[in-house]
Amino acid sequence: MPYSVPPGFFEGITEKTLEKARQREKARRKHVLIWRSMAIAASLTVLIVTGYLLINFIPKGNTEQAAQNIGAGPQNEVQNGELAEVMDTLPVKEDFDNKETEINTVNGVQDEEGINDVLSSLTNEELSELAAMLASDTFMEETENNLQ
């Protein structure tokens, strides 16, 4: 072979290689440690900045509204349930119509009975005065026509 090697090269190369491997492993660990520290620092910075932005830059009204919504959320659900029960017991339009008819009927009977009582309690003179008033009062006449 036209090549030569320094004397004792093959005797020392194993030790040299092992030493190189150790140094490289040490450097690799150091590198990993630096990267981990940087990753942790970066994560913490992001957290702090995000927290700061959330606290200082979100409009106050929105925050309060959001807080109310969050706080009232479960209660609303309960209230909605209760409301549904209450709604079932509430009268619908038909009920109101029936009720109105009943009231009108009752009032009509009561009115007629009241007028009869009043008329029966009146004396003949008073009745004749009333009749005269009816004859002379134009407004009473209009009301009577309207009623008819």
Binding site: M1, P2, Y3, S4, V5, P6, F9, F10, I13, T14, K16, T17, K20, A21, R24
Partner: protein, 157 residues
């Protein structure tokens, strides 16, 4: 220890490819560091020395390609190595060997690797296939062309 068993054999393989002792030393160290690092990936399908040859050869190819990028001109690079070989590493009476080595250095990368592994290391084609990740036929063709070129160089220079 693996290194004690194979270091000389692997060193000479590397040295024949990269020529310079400093490069060969670096590549040898890299080869064994990588071998220890990736010993878990060695599946046992090949022999341990072919696996080491493969690591060493890949490292040599990497170094040679880096050199090519830096030197750009392959002729310039080969002449540099030839000069180095004939001035510093030549021992008395080795002129014919230097000429032979120069002829090998002038071969294209693939042919040079095949010729070195077959001629100097006397490896079977199957092992060379694994080391260079190529087919037997391609290896035989490359070896044949390499032989022809070396013969031509030896006769004409």
């Amino acid at each position: 220890m693996m290194m004690d068993t194979y270091k000389e054999r692997i060193y000479w393989h590397i040295r024949r490819i990269v020529v310079l002792h400093e490069d060969a030393e670096d590549i040898l160290q890299e080869t064994f560091i990588n071998a220890y690092r990736f010993i878990g990936s060695f599946n046992g399908k090949s022999k341990i020395y072919t696996w080491l040859y493969r690591i060493a050869t890949n490292e040599c190819i990497r170094i040679l390609r880096n050199r090519k990028k830096m030197n750009r001109n392959i002729e310039e690079l080969t002449d540099k190595h030839t000069l180095k070989l004939s001035t510093t590493d030549m021992e008395s009476g080795d002129e014919i060997l230097v000429k032979f080595q120069n002829a090998i250095l002038r071969l294209p990368e693939k042919q040079r690797l095949v010729f070195t592994l077959r001629y100097y290391d006397d490896l079977p084609y199957e092992d060379i296939c694994y080391i260079l990740n190529t087919s037997v036929n391609a290896l035989k063709t490359n070896y044949h062309y390499a032989q022809e070129k070396i013969k031509e160089h030896m006769l004409n220079n």
